[in-house]
Symmetry: D2
């Protein structure tokens, strides 16, 4: 059903592939070929469509925030909303300005500071937050081969002064319980997950399906929680370009600096695209265009 | 179909009616009884449902930004996006901070500074922007009785130093073409529109209906423009509470300090609520709860 | 005594004269020849030294803030410190950001917002603040010929949207008592004073002389108030370059965008320089260098 | 000569002693008795005057910034001004906001971020910056008994998340060369210096004496550098209360959260006061009053 649409998108975005700089702050990301492009659609009925490099694993980076947040939501929702807001920040994803003016309470769970607090919450109820997340993601994607890329995680830590600034800043406001180093280590490891478009499409399907996955008994999160996650992705999922993303694509989405974007069609499907060249706001340039074409061609924009 | 749901909402929100301060910066708004509550649903099929004070006119205030924006979109879309962004501001609706850091370009058309630029654009292609908007709104609502409340407009002008600061600031960045006084006068007049929930439900139906209204030949705006407006309302329509509104209600919405909120169910209906008591962010307190119940009970959240 | 030093300075700064842009936001200032340079020293013992264009009148602009502040200090000191701070702003002279974060209280009397409040205070205790200031300045300078340049004042008003933004912003915080238009009109008129280096050196001598001028009975302000003004000029008198000015010159000083700078050697002399080319911070480029040479050659730096 | 004045000050400030909270972020500082008060004056002619607890050692904290800055100035002045500004910040001493808006360049050497850069510079030209500073301070104070208080330093490190945030932030802008941990460790050690008012009065005399101390051959810094330090202390030495300090005291000064303040009378004397209760801005409450009385009674204000 969607294969011809993916084909059409693939042709249309060719001129954009390779445009925009690839994330270069760590060597492992900088070495990813700029001309990659993959896309996958997973429907709630169980159909999978894909094109291009859709089975090639890439560094999902901030997309991992979805899965960590789902874990925290399941086990400690009240705690989250005592320590994190749910408003767009109006600033870049790694800004410290807002934290200082708002006393150390991150504006939402999908900017870096918010994700640190969410990670801290997950660490408070599980002994091994890294193993726990990996198990969740493997189960969601139905793929036991998914791994952390520890070289990426180490490299992030070595170049992560801005993130260390953010985490220490949170700690100075007593909005981290665990040690700064431990939170950062867990966060960087989560971000290093190597997954393909197909993996991610399967792993994020629960958000399109009321919190459940077909190949797993029991809900990951409750239906109204899934709605809440999608709402947050719509207003806060693509950093300081969330408004433009909503305007052009019309779906909740979460991006990572590795060039991946996950978009959700509630009740229907998850759509994942990967292309490493980035916009000034840090989102996949060809990826946003591909998703814009997707909703234009399918009429699946929520609006 | 929706009458029993409106009845249930009406009962549920009773304890909230009268909570939250009524806007008091001008006498005319301050004198509105705090215990008012009305709600109306207009479907694209033509059915109208209502409850409470749904036929009583109130000051729509910032909800007028929707209609002025639609006018500008129809005639000068390119000009808009050269002079206004489409991102949430992360600040109160009348903040000047962002303008100074971002060289006089408002973050979106639904904060005050953005609306001034949009008003300025409308004034550039029509001789009488006040009459033009009034005609549009009357046609959209199919009600020739709708009027500006000039006493409200004069009162706004007399107390509008913050807005005068914003408009002069924009002018200093050359992001207003017309005279400051003229833009403010037009803006305050637009905001003074007195309409009921029923009026507003009818007048905003075009956003749920691909840019068209059933009782009028020809589109107000194109279908993809209607999608764009809804996306902007989702991320930017309820000021610095837009994230929370999306999380709780799950619909695009636009609020005013008069206590009205318009919400759009794309393809289906417009839903309007009015209750004057406000949240700290300036949105109707009982109104948000009513809309939250509406999507919970109907399952019409987009997410 | 100082003539040979002025001669040496005059020779040294020749390469700098004409460097830096002349203020161009109003035609009258933009038309001032960039190659002007004048300097005057007036000692408390009554000697006057001068060089270059020291007798040519120029637009003193923000230097007028000294005289208006002295008037307010004499009559309503307590009122000033209830409504204005005395800290450097860390932002450009016309920034609105600080006002928003600090609830409409300007950081000091020598940024524009602070001067508006001081003007408002002066207007509250005198019926004709323009005539009152002109009389004070004529008496201080011992020159009845000093005049406002009403064309400059009108031109400022016509281009003064940034200042109108600031004044309206203050009014929205109830930190102006008079009407915005009236305060701006008075402020722009004060700024339009046309005075020469010699005029200014005489007119500012009271700050070097414990609040008194030799040619006038009675003190303008008390000795400890004169100290206070000098302290404020040191930390806040040259906008966001006050730290650099203190570092290089080592004297309290007040600059204007017309290219004038007044510097005070407490107990000893006033030193005035004029050259229209400006630094990025809005201070006279050659003027700062001239004053730096003055304290280097005379050893009169306070530090 | 000054003994009677110190006596008078001592009597006058009694009601203020114990007012204002003692720094409580680390146990060692929190345990200092609030009722301490000491004061010392050291003239360039060699006379020493003291009163109260002037010989009791306290934690000099940020006052150490003077000595580290002097070291850097002597060896790497150009490097300093490439990486640090010399303007007041208009924000609290530990604010991160300005760094983000100004690309990681601290506004001056006397806020924490600026001191980290200066420490980093000193570490780049000496193998053991801790030993080097201790030697300098012992020599300046002519007291071999002066020691670091390593318990204080360790405690600072354990509670220093805000400083760690600042240092990591600088590093993310590449404005630190050494490792973050190493810079912080050195900084905290420097701040832990335990010195008395008498020690500090002797140690800071070089700033009143053109960069030289009588009991040491050779200049610490050049005379014009000493002037520059004094200018910076005037505009930036007492955090976001520098304007008020200049207004009330009229001398360059440097404060620490341990309750000490060093003030300089150029060409004449150094004046040191210690009292642990602090103002909201983090300066000694009774100490500022004592210095205000000192210049009022002696007429030694620079203004």
């Amino acid at each position: 059903m969607y294969q011809s649409i993916l084909n059409e998108i693939y042709d249309s975005v060719q001129p954009l592939i390779g445009q925009g700089p690839v994330a270069s702050y760590i060597p492992r990301l900088a070495s990813v070929p700029a001309d990659k492009f993959g896309m996958a659609v997973q429907t709630v009925e169980g159909s999978l469509y894909q094109i291009g490099d859709a089975e090639e694993a890439f560094s999902i980076q901030s997309i991992s925030k979805i899965f960590v947040f789902a874990l925290a939501l399941k086990h400690a929702e009240d705690e989250i909303w005592r320590r994190v807001g749910r408003e767009p920040s109006g600033r870049p994803f790694n800004s410290l300005v807002q934290l200082e003016y708002e006393n150390g309470v991150p504006r939402n769970p999908f900017i870096n500071s918010g994700a640190f607090v969410v990670t801290d919450i997950v660490m408070s109820f599980t002994r091994d937050a890294k193993r726990r997340l990996l198990e969740l993601v493997r189960m969601l994607a139905d793929n036991r081969e998914i791994q952390y890329d520890y070289e990426v995680a180490r490299s992030e830590a070595a170049h992560g002064h801005r993130n260390a600034a953010l985490a220490n800043f949170l700690k100075s406001y007593s909005n981290l319980r665990c040690e700064v180093e431990s939170v950062l280590d867990t966060y960087f490891t989560h971000c290093s997950l190597a997954m393909s478009c197909v993996d991610l499409a399967r792993a994020s399907l629960f958000l399109a399906n009321g919190g459940c996955v077909p190949w797993h008994d029991g809900a990951i999160i409750r239906p109204e929680q899934a709605k809440g996650v999608n709402a947050l992705l719509m207003t806060c999922g693509t950093y300081d370009e969330a408004g433009d993303f909503a305007y052009r694509v019309g779906l909740p989405g979460k991006s990572g600096v590795g060039g991946g974007i996950v978009a959700i069609v509630p009740g229907h499907a998850s759509v994942v695209v990967w292309s490493p060249g980035l916009t000034p706001g840090g989102n996949s340039l060809a990826g946003i265009r591909a998703l814009e074409l997707f909703t234009a061609l399918t009429g699946l924009s929520l609006f």
